[in-house]
């Protein structure tokens, strides 16, 4: 009797999230069929927004930049996470360093970008006064590298936690048995640790892809899409279209496209990485 009425305690959370998360998530599809600036009344135009996206060179350019950014961020991110988790494992300073690595993800984004900006700005930056800083305000490659470094800086602690949680779950006895059988450290890593870390790596790659397809705050704060649109990732393109050019209907259609892209990338990766797993087990 008493147990059943406890269900009502879920109502505030379910109601609020239903209205402000689930409903907008589904509603975006309806918006995407409108020609709508936010101020004027919306005009239904069917699937025209999607046709426009297909023909929009800015969209394809932005998609290309996003993919380049994703690959060049994801690879060092995953490698660094694994190396750090391994290097930290069992060290006396493990906890302290992990706490430090986790800090950038929590601190004020605006404050963090100010620190990065004043440190690395090629014109007024502190580093520029002692060594030449690449002109990331003029070169696309360096601008992307800056955003990449900032993104890795913010999320490295999380990556290390993911790998490390998995690492701790590997039974010590397994590695000891391998050592007794004469396996070297690198062999033990190659044939025992690495395969057992695979779920964590899959998780990181999938999460990392999802995040890089959607991230735009760092771009907004550091480069504003520049130089010459060189860092205009999809998320930033979406923001610009919706709220600087006031094309909300078009931006809604872009949201749907990005969601579909994210979902298919994540599914494909999960399947691909799991597929490798099956083959090795067989």
């Amino acid at each position: 009797m008493r147990r059943s009425n406890a269900q009502w305690f879920a109502l505030p959370a379910v109601g609020l999230l239903g209205l402000f998360l689930l409903y907008p998530f589904l509603d975006v599809i309806r918006f995407s069929t409108w020609d709508w600036s936010g101020l004027s009344d919306p005009r239904p135009i069917g699937l025209e927004n999607y046709a426009t996206i297909w023909r929009d060179p800015d969209f394809w350019g932005s998609l290309r930049i996003t993919l380049i950014f994703g690959v060049m961020t994801l690879i060092p991110f995953v490698i660094l996470s694994v190396l750090l988790a391994l290097a930290l494992d069992g060290q006396p300073y493990e906890r302290g360093v992990k706490a430090l690595l986790f800090l950038p993800g929590l601190v004020t984004l605006g404050g963090a970008t100010v620190a990065w900006y004043t440190l690395f700005s090629p014109e007024y930056g502190a580093l520029a006064s002692i060594l030449p800083v690449p002109r990331w305000d003029q070169s696309q490659v360096w601008a992307l590298i800056l955003i990449m470094l900032f993104t890795i800086w913010r999320h490295l602690g999380y990556g290390v936690l993911v790998v490390s949680a998995r690492l701790k779950a590997i039974p010590r006895a397994l590695l000891e048995a391998a050592a007794v059988d004469g396996a070297t450290a690198s062999q033990a890593f190659r044939f025992i640790t690495l395969p057992l870390l695979r779920p964590a790596l899959t998780f990181l790659v999938v999460i990392g892809t999802v995040l890089s397809l959607q991230s735009y705050t760092a771009v907004f704060l550091l480069t504003r899409g520049g130089p010459f649109g060189g860092t205009e990732v999809l998320g930033y393109f979406l923001y610009k279209t919706g709220f600087e050019s006031s094309r909300l209907g078009y931006a809604a259609a872009l949201t749907v496209v990005i969601l579909i892209l994210t979902l298919s990338f994540a599914l494909a990766q999960a399947r691909l990485l799991r597929g490798n797993d099956d083959r090795e087990n067989a």
Binding site: Q7, V107, G110, G111, A115
Partner: protein
């Protein structure tokens, strides 16, 4: 081999810490030094940058925005903890809504700017403080963390209390609340940081001067005076320090709670 390992960790840790060290120092650099261009060659200390922040009316200025943001984000955090605490209790008591929260955890909130903007416009909440509160009054992630914590409370304990005649209110406030205090703190810090760090969203849905958060204030200042970064650094430090201190106090609980969440 071992030396290499220590060196690797040390170098990475140093690079990660560098922006923080710089942030702490830059706030106190005397303005003459910044404009002379000889920033790292000479050492200087001054409080002038903070004095600049205090100029102008209190509520429009930096300190007013900081106080407003602390109150706003603090309030949102309490709301989030309350709704999550109640929902986690309901789930523990048999409400079958956990899958719903897990699905909602996977929805990328950052991408929902456009439809959320439309919804807030329809509800006539745009450019009101509610636009900064209501969409964040509940979080599926915090519900999940609270439920993870509540799962560890033994059923016998609650059963015994029920036999003594405890109702929901007593169970929640006298038993579960003290037991879950560590998780509440950890989840609270994470929730606080998530709301505190919103940059684009407040700018879009509540951009008027009296609703500006400290983040928006700093990014506006950065855009207006990119070269005059003494006051900018002081503002960045003052806006970051509260969070860093809270984090350092509860760091062990936070990292542990996060790791538990990863395992589940």
């Amino acid at each position: 081999m071992n030396a290499l390992r220590h060196a690797f960790v040390f170098v990475v840790a140093f690079l990660v810490a560098l922006p923080f060290i710089w942030m702490a120092y830059a706030a106190f650099i005397p303005p003459e030094l910044i404009f002379s261009g000889n920033i790292l060659g000479q050492f200087g200390f001054s409080l002038e940058n903070f004095a600049v922040l205090s100029q102008g009316g209190f509520w429009e200025g930096f300190w007013g925005r900081l106080l407003y943001s602390v109150l706003l984000t603090g309030g949102v955090t309490l709301l989030q903890l309350l709704t999550a605490f109640l929902a986690a209790y309901a789930i523990r008591e048999g409400a079958k809504v956990l899958p719903l929260f897990l699905i909602m955890m996977a929805i990328p909130v950052e991408l929902l700017l456009v439809p959320l903007y439309g919804l807030l416009q329809n509800l006539r909440l745009l450019d009101s403080i509610w636009a900064l509160i209501l969409p964040f009054a509940a979080s599926p992630f915090i519900v999940y963390l609270m439920f993870q914590g509540m799962r560890t409370v033994p059923e016998e304990l609650l059963e015994a209390a029920r036999l003594d005649g405890a109702d929901h209110r007593v169970l929640l406030s006298q038993i579960l609340f003290p037991l879950l205090r560590p998780q509440l703190i950890a989840a609270g810090v994470l929730a606080f940081a998530a709301h505190w760090n919103l940059v684009l969203y407040p700018r879009i849905v509540a951009g008027s001067d009296d609703l500006k958060t400290v983040q928006t204030w700093i990014t506006d200042l950065q855009r207006q005076n990119p070269a005059d970064w003494g006051p900018l650094s002081a503002a960045a430090l003052a806006a970051t320090l509260p969070l860093v201190i809270i984090y350092l106090i509860y760091e062990r609980r936070i990292v542990e709670t996060f790791e538990e969440g990863l395992k589940g």
